[in-house]
Assembly symmetry: C3
Homo-oligomer: 480 residues x 3
């Protein structure tokens, strides 16, 4: 029988303090302001409005709300795990965004002349994006991990994330405005792989008594759902190109989400004998449209294309919750507390493939010359080609590309779906084996899904008899 | 005795799926991006900042929060109806915004040369506005309707809404920046008319036991209230003219809401024997200032004018909750679950009339030449008049108008109050008669205000004895 | 034995109505739109984008959310005081912002030629800032005061606030972008002084039974915490200079908060024998980084400087909650319900001193010439000096300053820390003595921390026996 070492003092504080001091040192060595934030690069008032701040700060704040309120509250649905859901989410996102600034800086925009990372508006958004992947993985292992394990998972996962992102953006040069492949698909399968490696028979023989919701915890979770749903257009448009790209990304996401929500209600009712709606579906599958439209959010898919993608993803996701998730657990020993496979995994694949198709059929006829802005790899490599000259006359934003055809770009997009899958599952398994040791402080089977392992927990409303025992107020039902 | 058909499967899923497929087809035929979202109309970076996205997207997101979090949580105050409040709100808003894009597109900005609706930032805001009216009506019938009825109500109400909006904006050409007349007044009286037609004696003989709040459901409702209160300046300014109009609309709303809140606290305490505050008043009447300043939000009413309007509306609204609502139910058989008559109905009329007065007394002395931008109907019809020439020299935004005097414009504004009332009550009665049939799945009297008719409901906290019965955990009190 | 006069009718409504009417009259006499909101100053569409609305409205709305949702919900942690926390917060902020517009207008930007206050975007933000100080003070006296006392405290505190702000900005001309000194330090010590003067032995002999949380009230409080945490970058950057200043202020705050959060988790676990996390720490100390980076938010402290400040403040704040707060109560008779001393007081001092140091070491080498924009007092007084001419050539925003050296400016900054402390404690004691009289309606010792003194309170979930008594449903436990 396993021995559990759930006492977090001094393990957790020591690791957290060391990590934060390391952040401080690495930031001191490497991180400086970019030109939009540096006083030396001050522009006068006429040009101030061209600061990226005014193009992206409102979107950034919406993304920030999704990370901290959205993911945090979405996971409060468990009856006795709300402190941990929202609290650990808070911790790993706040640490994770610092670590992401360093990793993404080193890999994607390291200034080798000054040996510095210059951080600005897009860097902040990308850091938040990176933490989103970790929070998705958190959803798969929710209730079964200690805060220490989660911190360490954050450290490791972000390395794999940054590598995969580097392949996608730096090497294959694929489009993924809303991160269907790089964030959602990756985060989901990484978490599932961790969960698979750490699978415990004792925990899942029958549905764990505490692994469910109560009335008000479901209402709290709806706060998370709705903030995610509302601000997803900002997520998918946050780092899209200025102007029409950003506008289009927001609009496509708006329509895709609306369609996936209606589909979710319909399928939830249709798959219930009584036609009763299931809160789990509404809380999660309604968001699938945001995931699935992510890669092609800034492409010319038109509102009806967005609705089609959203509609399909809502159906797939709800069916996943209803029929696939139980199979995954019983057949493959993959336990997925929040159902991230249904919300982020499958819709992420759908999104990656939709993006590949949309890219493969992109044309100058539809995009005009801005085809070459939305897909910079389609610009010729050679500055002397007639096409390049024509493009350069039209816009000085144009830089030499790869000379790919749309079909080839579509192929690369599809390839990235596969690579993200491999990187996620591989990275997740490695991380899982590393975290499996009970030294990291995971709870015993019976104490999973239970705040009081890691938190001072006050009485719950209405449990008047609780006060006397004083330590574990929520457990009185069990003891009867 | 009526027989109730509350089983939603397959009625609800079939209707929802058919509606969504219809949306998909109609969007495919009719809806395309507007010039701010179309890649073909890409502007270079210098002009990108003139994209409507940067003028209105932050406001749009605030409106979006009001629609989904604001209205959704405001209605969670009922003790056993939080899932339905926030969930049905979610469903009908997400479906409703798609349907609104089509209706408003056909009626207001249909491009007859291409047979297309071109949708952009303002279209998205207006679609959200249209759903706001439906959600207000939902407040009047909250707890007494099935999700299927609500979906059908959305389909029908938006048609009447778009017609009334067409009269207001297309024909009478009145100003209504924040929609006091077109959204709030219309939504309230439409809902009241539906509620009147569907009135059931059995439900309201004495106050329904479940039609009340519990402690935490009232706190949840405050989330809705406060998000509505905070973001109302964005609602009223979202589609106002660029620059000072938008700034003024936000500021007037800010002050009006502050004043209505103070008035609400005062009157709530004053009308209680003990001076105790009533959560129903705080949750609702505090918002009356946002409704009442809607029509004249972008007019030169000055901050003191805004405070006066807010102050009066807070008083009227609170008194309405205290004294008028019970009379409406007992004398006129109009049951109004959320008190939309007090929050949206009366303040909407007040807002419409305030707007008429503010328009009637508008003058070049106060507005300068931008009088003719705020009230385009005051521009002469004839381009050869000296006034038109003077205006055209000043600004090339000026287009020929109707040559109305401010007084005449004020008259048209007042007329629209009446028309909105007639359209709302007429449309609501028709809709009510259509929805009255029990085939649509409304609950029996005793099962109203109860989530478990349409939702899988988990146990409530503290009801330990509930687990055994397993189906309707919240009903145990009744069975004692 | 003291007699308590908690009946709020007619005291509260009369005072509230009189105050609001006074606001209306004073706004009528003094307050008009500024040039960004006045139709007469309408700019054509080309210039509309230079309206302050587009530079600051999104930030303003984030600040607004912090004031109403952030502070309001942060204080809902008490088990029986959620209505009051969120409701009184609502009332005093809505009244307070009106009063602040007048006070700040008279003192800081009164147009003596027209005898008017011209209000615009920055005025609205500053009014919200002023109410923030009052809400911080509210945190110190939470649960022990009547709504009437709070209204009167708002009236008085804002006078002292405006005077202190006038010293800081008008006389000493210090930098305080995020208000570490003017808002946080001031609000905290003002509230502590009020609390000290109104200290009651009977209330605090042993920890009051109702002065604690229940499970879901802690989750509600996390809504407040997280919205404060997320939007603090907007708070600290809301009135910073256009462009890089605003960008830098947001970024520094982002990193400071992340570091203070990690520190809070570490210290909370480290100071618990079992290593269990304490919700009080997470809810509060995690925010200390936002307070402490306030003064130097727009200075060139670099991300690592922000992380260092955040890290230290998180540690100091958590230790304050754990060890200092109990001493303050037992030794100095200062009872601090929300721990504002730990969250706003000490981090505010830390922030003021950090700002003094950052200012003292500011140099042209680091800032370039925009040193003189960020610190306008460093510009020479004499327009004929070579430096002034050089600056004027570089930017026409430059105006004659005070010719201070950075070190002198640092000295003035440090002096303001002291002045804020004196003004806060002095003003708070005067206010406390004024409010001490029981006529103002504070509750008796046993009825503190209890909504039902001032609110109609519905049943709580699970308290089935409550219904019979009908008046005070939450008290049944006490009566057993």
């Amino acid at each position: 029988m396993a021995i559990y070492h759930t006492k977090m003092n001094p393990k957790l504080p020591v690791v957290a303090l060391v990590l934060e001091v390391v952040m401080l040192i690495l930031f001191g060595i490497f991180v400086r302001y970019d030109h939009d934030a540096d006083a030396k690069d001050h522009h006068n008032n006429t040009k101030a409005q061209k600061n990226e701040f005014y193009f992206r700060y409102a979107s950034f704040q919406d993304v920030h709300v999704m990370i901290f309120i959205g993911f945090g509250f979405l996971m409060t649905f468990l009856k006795r795990y709300s402190f941990s859901s929202v609290g650990f989410n808070f911790l790993i996102a706040a640490f994770g965004l610092q670590w992401a600034v360093l990793l993404q800086g080193w890999l994607h925009h390291f200034d080798s002349s000054t040996m510095k990372i210059h951080i600005g508006m897009e860097g902040m958004i990308n850091a938040d994006f990176c933490t989103a992947a970790v929070l998705i993985s958190f959803g798969a292992v929710l209730g079964k991990t200690s805060p220490l394990q989660l911190l360490v998972m954050t450290v490791l996962e972000e390395v794999f994330f940054a590598l995969n992102e580097h392949i996608a953006i730096g090497i294959l040069q694929v489009n993924d405005a809303g991160g269907s492949m790089v964030i959602h698909l990756f985060g989901a399968y990484f978490g599932l792989a961790v969960s698979r490696v750490m699978f415990r028979d004792g925990l899942h023989g029958e549905t764990h008594e505490k692994e469910g919701s109560v009335y008000h915890s479901d209402v709290f979770a709806m706060i998370g759902t709705i903030f995610l749903w509302m601000f997803w257009p900002s997520f998918n448009s946050a780092i899209a190109g200025h102007g029409d790209d950003q506008m289009r990304a927001a609009m496509n996401t708006y329509f895709s989400l609306a369609a996936s929500l209606v589909a979710t209600f319909a399928i939830s009712s249709l798959t219930s004998r009584e036609g009763k709606l299931d809160m789990v579906h509404i809380q999660n599958a309604s968001l699938a449209g945001g995931v699935a439209v992510g890669t092609c959010a800034d492409m010319m898919i038109n509102p009806y294309g967005a609705i089609m993608i959203g509609f399909c993803s809502g159906i797939v996701s709800t069916l996943g919750f209803k029929y696939l998730a139980p199979l995954l657990e019983s057949k493959l020993k993959v336990h997925d507390t929040c159902g991230v496979h249904n919300l982020h995994g499958m819709p992420g694949i759908l999104g990656g493939l939709s993006g590949a198709i949309a890219a493969a059929f992109a044309s100058e006829e539809v995009y005009g010359l801005s085809l070459y802005l939305t897909f910079p790899t389609l610009v010729p490599e050679d500055k002397n080609t007639p096409l390049f000259k024509r493009l350069h006359e039209w816009s000085d934003e144009i830089e030499p590309g790869k000379g790919r055809s749309p079909m080839v770009q579509g192929g690369f997009q599809a390839l990235q779906v596969l690579i993200s899958l491999v990187m996620a599952i591989g990275g997740g398994m490695i991380t899982g084996f590393f975290l499996k040791h009970t030294w990291w402080g995971q709870a015993s089977d019976v104490d999973c899904f239970e705040d009081s392992m890691y938190w001072e927990v006050p009485e719950a409303e209405g449990f008047t008899e609780v006060k006397t025992d004083g330590e574990h107020p929520l457990d009185t039902q069990d003891e009867l």
